[in-house]
Amino acid sequence: MTTDVVVVVEPATSSGQTSTASRRAAGRSRGGSWRRLAFGLLGLILTAAVWQLVSYVKGDPVILPSVQRTASTFWEYLSQPYPAVQGKTLWQHALVSGGRILAGWAAGVVIGVAVGGVMASVSFVRHLLDPLIEITRPLPPLAFIPLFIVWFGIGETPKFLLILIGVVPVMIIATVSALDAVPTELVQAGRSLGASPLWALLTVRLRSALPPIITGMRLAMGGAWTSIVAVELIAATSGLGYVINNAGVNLQTPLVLSGILAISVLGIVFDGLLRLLHRFADPTTR
């Protein structure tokens, strides 16, 4: 009996299909990624070349230092404190900024997902909060800096809150739209296979919404970096934003560029980790 059915559905053809399909997919992605890497590197090298050319033509390290001067400054301040008295190394400044980002972002993600989850399931909460989010969303968090300094001083609290208010609306919107996009039938499929309502909510609805929520986390992370640097420009004695601002006031352009470089490296690292998480959550992108 069993063999009958197998013969009928032609397993040989079907399995042949899978292996060719997966082989083709693998080939495409591998070849594509090498190409992408090569072009990406080329873009970076071209940018550095233009930079070098401009700095050579200008001949003024305050306006634009050369690539190797910037690189050596970066290297130097990895171990040397800035400012020289009671200062921190670039590493430590980066740790301070990174810590602030992570704290505000993580809290914002938790709040955003929780509020978004409730909004997606309870319609009156959604109607209640929707206008509020629409009003606050276009406001740049930086507009609140003076207000927060008046309210909370220049300690860590206003910095944390500024990142938070940048992250929360992004995460709410990402969560609500991710949960809305889950097809009803997918949850029904889970229920009719014997899942309890709670089990289906956790293992189907939320699980299915996870990849777009992670994309929201990536966007929010980018927003967090913009606000943290702005905050540290105004009211801080440590952090990469502080380094950039202070070095700029003292016309230490190579150090300004080093600070910018450090931010972009940190940004790439954080985003890379989140992309890894996304890959893990969504097998179709593997």
Binding site: S14, S196, T203, P283
Partner: protein, 268 residues
């Protein structure tokens, strides 16, 4: 066939599905929109082990009917019974196959099949063995670790079959499951379904808007009228089993198709 012998005698006597005076309407989106009556006093009985096709134009309430049998929605009035018990909610005793396979894209084929047992906290080595066996039966022995997006359309449908069958349902509810497939794959899936049904002796309620599909697959074809949905005619299909796609070229089949089509087009 072994399955029917294992069933208690009492269930064989009861109808597998009973719909008695089922009414259902939907409220319109806006307050001014009139409420739409999807079903108005619908009666139907399905015998155990029967293959029943629900045929009708879109919007005649056939999917609503299936959703009520699955337990996703409740009727406004009337009774929905499976195996003599009123339907109160979704459950693994009634397997549902949707228009698209609705596999969980983050799970491998095997994990998709094991979702039901896991969700009910009934995953045993025996269930796992059965899942592997079922995947073999549906021709996916090599695709245990493949994700749904790596499978072809027909393979996804067969994986969805295995996911439902692992729960040993007594009733299969199918909502135009092959509508989105290309003609060649559809024929293969129809053949596959007939073999599966003959092997497992399961009751099937199959929704379709394709006259030929209904005539080829069903023991009876319930022809439904447009909104509000009512059973217009129930046509016995007396073609011999096992049937195959070649039967669609016989004179009896063509005559049967005409009878169904006439019932469909009656007083439109």
């Amino acid at each position: 066939m072994t399955l029917t012998q294992g069933l208690p005698v009492s269930t064989a006597a009861r109808p597998a599905v009973e719909l008695i005076g089922v009414k259902k309407h939907f409220t319109g989106r806006s307050r001014r929109a009139p409420k739409r009556v999807a079903l108005d006093g619908f009666d139907l009985t399905v015998r155990p082990g029967e293959f029943l096709c629900l045929l009708g134009p879109s919007g005649c309430g056939k999917s609503t009917l299936l959703n009520m049998l699955a337990g996703f929605t409740q009727p406004d009035r009337g009774q929905v019974l499976t195996d003599g018990e009123p339907v109160t909610g979704p459950g693994p005793d009634r397997g549902v196959l949707f228009q698209t396979p609705m596999l969980f894209p983050w799970l491998t084929t095997l994990d998709n099949v094991l979702y039901g047992p896991r969700a009910r906290h009934e995953l045993t080595a025996e269930t796992r063995r059965r899942a592997v066996e079922l995947l073999e039966t549906v021709g996916l022995a090599d695709a245990h670790d493949a994700f749904p997006h790596e499978l072809s359309g027909g393979m996804r449908h067969r994986a969805a079959f295995a996911r439902v069958l692992v729960n040993r349902p007594r009733l299969l509810l199918m909502d135009e499951p092959f509508g989105a497939l290309d003609a060649i794959t559809r024929v293969a899936m129809q053949r596959f379904l007939l073999h599966l049904w003959q092997r497992e002796q399961i009751t099937i309620v199959f929704v379709t808007h394709d006259v030929e599909e209904a005539a080829l697959l069903g023991d009876r074809v319930c022809v439904m009228s447009g909104s509000p949905g009512r059973a217009r005619a129930v046509i016995e299909v007396d073609l011999p089993r096992p049937r195959s796609i070649e039967d669609t070229e016989t004179l009896e089949f063509v005559q049967l198709k005409r009878r169904i089509r006439e019932a469909l087009e009656d007083d439109h």
